[in-house]
Amino acid sequence: MTTQIHPIQHTKKISKNISIQDPLWVRWLLITISIGFISLFICVPLGLVIFQAFSKGITAYFSALSQPDTLSAIKLTLLVAIVTVPLNTLFGVTAAWTITRFDFPGKSLLTTLIDLPFSVSPVISGLIFVLLFGAQGWFGEWLMAHDIKIIFAAPGIILATVFITFPFVARQLIPLMQEMGHQEEEAALSLGAGGWKTFFSVTLPNIKWALLYGVLLCNARAMGEFGAVSVVSGHIRGLTNTLPLHVEVSYNDYDVIGAFASASILAGLAIVTLILKTVLEWKQTTR
């Protein structure tokens, strides 16, 4: 698939030339339409999370959050992110280095394969791990015999999350490192620096913002993934529920405050992500 999203924007001033300026009424109309559209689909839902979470007051909100099930869901979510993000970061950097610094046959196929998890439905991403490690799966009997639990346990949740967030870091780095070219690294090598030294003193400082950006997106998705995780987790309360799953369970139990209190944490995470993202974009362009 040749499709690419470019989340890192470069803001450029468009000239205020009269000949390419739209008439005032067109400008107002289009601005109104887009603000209306975005408010309806984004701002109102965001506001509603906060409103619902605090609809019974602050005490109810905090008592919902201090439920043991909620706390264990938060713990599991953190665990998943702590394992997933470093793994995929290491992979992303290595893959980007391989793809942008060397020529080898099958390179474009490799690039496509890295993007593969993006084009697979989250539910299918969960399903494949059930097929591998579930009770009726390929390794099911062996795992049972050795009393190792993967599906309906933390390892399965982590695996599915690693799969889902697999391309995030690589995808941020590959276009950037391609555009950068090799010259600075070649200069370092020609001045006598070794491989690691070149990477840490020349490559890394140049890609650090994009790397952080990738890590940020990877983390947001790892903490928020729902579909894949819901297939492999088994929804065991206090044990295999991540925060998003806890939101679902509470909501289905008509525990509105509980659901929205948990949701508000995730929404807060999303907002922090967006703020950091904006900062990183700004850093990236004013580098």
Binding site: E184, A188, S190, G192, A193, R287
Partner: protein, 347 residues
């Protein structure tokens, strides 16, 4: 240090970038690798540097076979076409980089590094910029910093890829002279790549002309200019008029003095300044009509159309000093007599 390349060949996929290059650069020379784009000159430079490995042949620097040695061990200085300054480091840190990455036992102390970097920055006359970042420098300044950075590791050989390629015409002029003087002071064997013949002639002590992956000629600038080895070199080094015996009127060429007892070939190349122009008063002369003329500073370039029986409308270019042009008081449409001093013959 001397450089010896023996039988270097390099292919990129099915494209043969270099074939069977043999080249010897004696110690202390300032050599230009000159050729049109795509001729393989940058590839050759990168092979000498160790930034590219050769498919065949050997790279010998100062008697040592360096063919398989990694660029970071080769001890060369390389100045990149777009300078490749580390944009997250200050000018000072850029120049110090090569010293800081030395293995601990041979790494100089901070004071030594400090001293040395400032000395180098003074050498390139940019010490006052030491705390700036590359983005805050002009093209010419970046160029000189890149050079200082390459010199910091005391390279045995200095290699420069299109060192003036990205600069304004006026800055380029200054830097050429400066590089020549710097080389004179440092006397480190240097090779630079260029596609600009004027630059090669002005800066280098030796010029190597490359075309389609092969060396066409090697020699001092005057050798190359006065005795081009073949039609390619002659045409590439400076403007030249081409007369093909099969196309042109031989009688006219004889009268003009191109064909004489020394003629040995089919195609004659004549430099514009080797054509003498006088006012014509005799029908026996080899004549031409002045079609147009242009100022080239101290020289005037005349665009002439031959009065001969062939149908060739290709203009002939001649050059003369401004004063002489004034004296002759030529006008467009005048008939002039041509006398050709010297021609190079090729097959």
């Amino acid at each position: 240090m001397s450089i010896l390349l023996s039988d270097i060949s390099k292919n990129f996929g099915t494209f043969a970038a270099l074939h069977h290059i043999n080249l010897e650069v004696p110690e202390g020379e300032l050599v230009a690798l000159l050729g049109p784009s795509g001729c393989g000159k940058t590839t050759l430079l990168r092979i000498i540097a160790g930034l590219e490995y050769t498919d065949k042949g050997k790279v010998i620097i100062n008697g040592e076979d360096k063919t398989q040695q990694n660029v970071s061990q080769r001890g060369i200085g390389f100045v990149f076409q777009h300078y490749a300054l580390f944009r997250h480091m200050t000018v000072f840190e850029n120049v110090a980089f090569g010293l800081r990455v030395k293995p601990r036992h041979s790494r100089p102390s901070n004071e030594v590094i400090n001293k040395k970097v400032h000395a180098l920055l003074e050498l390139v006359q940019l010490d006052w910029l030491h705390s700036r970042y590359p983005d805050q420098l002009s093209g010419g300044q970046r160029q000189r910093i890149a050079l200082a950075r390459a010199l910091a590791v005391e390279p045995s050989v200095l290699l420069l890829d299109e060192p003036f390629g990205a600069l304004d015409a006026s800055v380029r002029k200054d830097l050429r002279l400066w590089l020549r003087n710097l080389h004179h002071d440092l006397n480190v064997t240097s090779i630079f790549v260029t596609h600009d013949q004027e630059e090669a002639m002005e800066v280098a002590s030796q010029v190597v002309v490359l075309n389609q992956g092969q060396i066409e000629q090697q020699g001092s600038p005057s050798e190359i200019y006065d005795h081009p080895a073949n039609a390619f070199v002659s045409r590439f080094i400076g403007q030249t008029n081409v007369f093909d015996l099969n196309e042109h009127d031989n009688d006219w060429l004889k009268t003009a003095g191109i064909i004489n007892v020394n003629s040995t070939g089919r195609i004659a190349h004549v430099r514009p300044h080797d054509i003498l122009i006088e006012k014509s008063d005799n029908l026996q002369d080899a004549t031409a009509v002045l079609k147009d003329w242009q100022h080239l500073g101290a020289l005037i370039r005349l665009e002439l159309v031959k009065n001969d029986i062939s149908n060739s409308k290709k203009p002939v270019f001649a050059e003369m000093p401004k004063e002489q042009f004034k004296e002759l008081a030529l006008r467009i449409g005048d008939v002039v007599k041509l006398k050709i001093r010297q021609a190079h013959w090729f097959d």
